[in-house]
Amino acid sequence: MTRPTDTPLYPLRESPSQTAGPYVHIGLTPNFCGIGGVYATDLGTTMVGDRTKGERITLEGRVFDGGGNLIRDALVEIWQADADGVHHAKATADFCGWGRSPADAETGLFRFDTIKPGRVPFPDGRLQAPHINLWIVARGINLGLNTRIYFEDELDANAADPVLGRIEHRDRVATLISKGGAGRYSHDIHLQGPQETVFFDI
């Protein structure tokens, strides 16, 4: 049996990740942490405008560690399609599919005011259930964690979703499904332990 050689086929290797650390806010949300006057506003705080098509939703959540402790220094970014299931790289006055939210220093809540995304095709042509891609960094997280948020009131679409279908341990699917409806959803994320959220190698 031969082992793969250690010589990479491509000229470069990805820069290795390092933790964002406890002071990530200085760089990514300076106004949030009291560094005013450098940027007019923190990036990623406004996703929808008056003319945005689609159902307005508020998404709130918290992140917990393996001891059940609330993590108050996490930073969460989301990436999602518009109401028609189309991703727009460039934000318009109508919609920005990307958002960034630091956990609140007291309550630990992250929050996004956005719209419910439409269905996005999987490479094999099947439609995915409405979902929002989430990326979490924090002190103690060496490489950003990728997960998704689905919606409790999309039962049929969730049942047919190709990504949820990849999860072998079916009882873990529920960790990706936010609770709520009528425009308000809540979604807690557990980094470790019995309720551990499914994270993806995307």
């Binding site: 560094i35 393996g66 095709p121």
Partner: protein, 247 residues
């Protein structure tokens, strides 16, 4: 289905998760309870992963990439060793990654962060904020001016000190390329002693995070320069709306 909604052929190279730090690295104590214990679930990239946000140059202010001045009172500047940090954003195939947002943050010259949770006794510099950002050029190049950050102690082991470092946050063209890392400085004897650096197993990977002194890029009588290239994931076939030659 509209044409822009068609599933793409692009697929990012899988991350080499033995090259990156593992999630559980007990010498970095906070990782113990903040690391998933169950395996990650893998699936082929869909548009949700291969697309990502793009940021326009019009969002940048004139001093966004100048930390020496962007928090300073008029006529003042940050205290410390003035340096230029410059490099390129590339992908694993060696191709430049143009027009992507690069954000950076750091402590001041004494190792103190402008953050209410930093209680280190070294003082704040009233003319230094510690944040900056820029967007890579057509050739992937970026640069900014700052002061060299100082090392600082942190409550991990009884006497752990972070090497001088600058945090980097980089976007690619797909959300799956999203990366946060740290840049270290050539020759710093604290690098080999740091539990966060040592979450990385391969010394070549640490070397990749170590910026080199670049005398040719320095500004005589003004600032020394350090070179730091950032490499993002490559893709099997890179389909960007405006760069069809990638296919």
């Amino acid at each position: 289905m509209t044409s822009s909604n068609r599933p793409p052929v692009a697929n990012f190279f899988p991350r080499d998760r033995s090259w990156h730090p593992k999630a559980l690295t007990p010498d970095y104590k906070t990782s113990v309870l903040r690391s998933p214990a169950k395996p990650l679930v893998a699936f082929g990239n869909s548009l949700s992963e291969t697309t990502g946000p793009a940021f326009g140059h019009d969002m940048l202010g004139p001093l966004d990439n100048d930390l020496v001045l962007n928090f300073a009172s008029p006529g003042m500047s940050a205290i410390g060793e003035r340096i230029i940090v410059e490099g390129r954003v590339l992908d694993e195939r060696g191709q430049p990654v143009p027009n992507v947002l690069v954000e950076f943050w750091q402590a001041n010259a004494g190792g103190r962060y402008r953050h209410k949770k930093d209680g280190y006794l070294a003082p704040l510099d009233p003319n230094f904020g510690g944040c900056g950002r820029t967007i890579s050029g057509e050739d992937g190049a970026y640069s900014f001016r700052t002061v060299r950050p100082g090392p600082y102690p942190w409550p991990n082991g009884p006497n752990d000190w972070r090497p001088a470092h600058i945090h980097f946050s980089v976007f690619g063209h797909g959300f799956a390329q999203r990366l946060i890392t740290q840049m270290y400085f050539e020759g710093d004897p604290l690098i080999a002693r740091c539990p966060i650096v040592r979450t990385i197993n391969d010394p070549r990977a640490v070397d990749q995070l170590t910026a080199r002194l670049d005398m040719n890029a320095s500004a005589p009588m003004d600032a020394l320069a350090y070179r730091f290239d950032i490499v993002l994931r490559g893709s099997r076939s890179t389909l960007f709306e405006n760069r069809m030659e990638g296919n």
